[in-house]
Symmetry: C2
C-alpha cells in the first residue's frame, strides 16, 4: 500500500508530476520499441521533454521503468494461462502458453536477457508468471503427458533462453518456434500409452 505506483494510479500526484509520468512512459515505449530495453535513459527523458533526473525520480532503476511499461502485457499473459486451463488438451494448452511466453519475452529486444539477469534477484513479474505456468504444468503432469521431473522454474528458464536465442536471428519468430518445438518434445512423456501426443 501507498507504493509509488499506487500514488500514480490514484490521482494523488501533483498535476505536473502526473503529466511527466505519462510522458515518460510514452517515450519509454517508443524508445524500447526502437532500440530495445537498453535504450538510452537520457534519450527517453529528452523525448519526454524532461531532465534525466526527473526520470530517475519517477523510475529509480531501468528495471522499474521496464516493468511499469510491461505491466498490462504481463497481466494478459497470466490471464491467458488461467483461460487455457479450460482447454481440453493439457499439453496443447501448455504449448500454446509457452509460445505466448516466448513472444512476450521478445516484446522488446534485450528483454529476455534482462529477465534472466533479474531472475537471480526476485521480481514480482517472474513470480506472477511462474505461478501461472505452474498450474498449466501441474495439470499436464497429472495427465501423464509431461515427465514428472520437469519443474516450472527450469522450464521457464529454458523457454526464456529460447526467446533470447531466437532474438539474435534473422527470423526470430520461426527460429523461436523451431527451438520451442524441441523443448516441448523434451518435456513430454516418452510412453505413447500414457497421456496424449502433441497435435500439430
Amino acid at each position: 500500500m501507498n507504493s509509488p505506483s499506487d500514488l500514480q494510479r490514484s490521482g494523488r500526484m501533483r498535476a505536473d508530476a502526473r503529466r511527466n509520468h505519462e510522458r515518460l512512459l510514452t517515450a519509454a515505449v517508443s524508445a524500447f520499441s526502437r532500440h530495445g530495453v537498453n535504450a538510452s535513459l537520457d534519450d527517453i527523458a529528452s523525448q519526454a521533454g524532461v531532465g534525466s533526473a526527473t526520470l530517475y525520480r519517477h523510475f529509480p532503476t531501468r528495471q522499474v521503468l521496464v516493468e511499469t511499461v510491461l505491466e498490462d502485457r504481463v497481466d494478459a499473459l497470466c490471464l491467458r494461462a488461467r483461460q487455457l486451463l479450460d482447454e481440453p488438451s493439457p499439453v496443447g494448452a501448455l504449448r500454446e502458453w509457452l509460445v505466448a511466453v516466448v513472444e512476450h519475452s521478445r516484446t522488446y529486444r534485450g528483454l529476455a536477457a534482462a529477465q534472466m539477469a533479474l531472475e537471480i534477484s526476485d521480481t514480482t513479474d517472474s513470480d506472477q508468471i511462474r505461478e501461472a505456468g505452474e498450474a498449466l504444468l501441474v495439470r499436464a503432469r497429472k495427465a501423464g503427458a509431461v515427465r514428472p521431473d520437469i519443474d516450472v522454474t527450469d522450464l521457464l528458464r529454458l523457454v526464456n533462453a529460447v526467446a533470447w536465442a531466437s532474438e539474435h536471428t534473422s527470423a526470430p519468430s520461426e527460429q523461436g518456434e523451431r527451438l520451442l518445438a524441441i523443448v516441448i518434445e523434451g518435456v513430454q512423456s516418452r510412453d505413447p500409452d500414457r497421456g496424449e501426443r502433441a497435435d500439430t
Copy 2:
C-alpha cells in the same frame, strides 16, 4: 597466409612486440577469468604493462582477443568430437559432446552471449564447431536415434542458449545438466523400436 596471427606464431615480430603480445594474452586470461569476457580492456592493458592503444594494435577488436585466448580450447573441443565418432552409442556420443560444448561456452562469463551475438556475422570458430558437431549429429540421425528434422545450427544455438541460461544461476553446472537433458530428450526419436534410448 601472412595474417597477423601467422606473423605472431612465427618469430617475425619485433622482440618487444612479441613480448607485449604474450603479456596481453596472459593479462586477458586473468581478466576474463575474473570478470568475464567483457572485462575492461583498459585494465587488461594496464595489467600487461602497456598502453591501451598497444592492445588495440595487437587485437583490433575484443572478439579477436577472445578468440585468440580460446584458440586451444576450441581445437580441443573439435578434436573431442572426432574422437567420439568411435564411441559405440551415437546418441551417447552426441550427448557427451554437447555437455562439453556447454562447458566450453561457460569458460568465461559472457562468452555464450558473445557467441550468440557473433553468430549473425560469421566467425571461424563457430564454423569449426558446427562442422565437428554435424558429423556427430548425422551419425545419430542415420542410426535413427534422433529426429530427422533436427539441424546442427538449431541444435548448437539451443545448447548455447542453455549454457547462457545456466550461467545466470547459482549452480551453473547442475542447471546446465538439467536443461541439456531436456534438450537431448527433445531431439531423440520417439519410436522406441528405432534407434537406442539414452543411457543414464
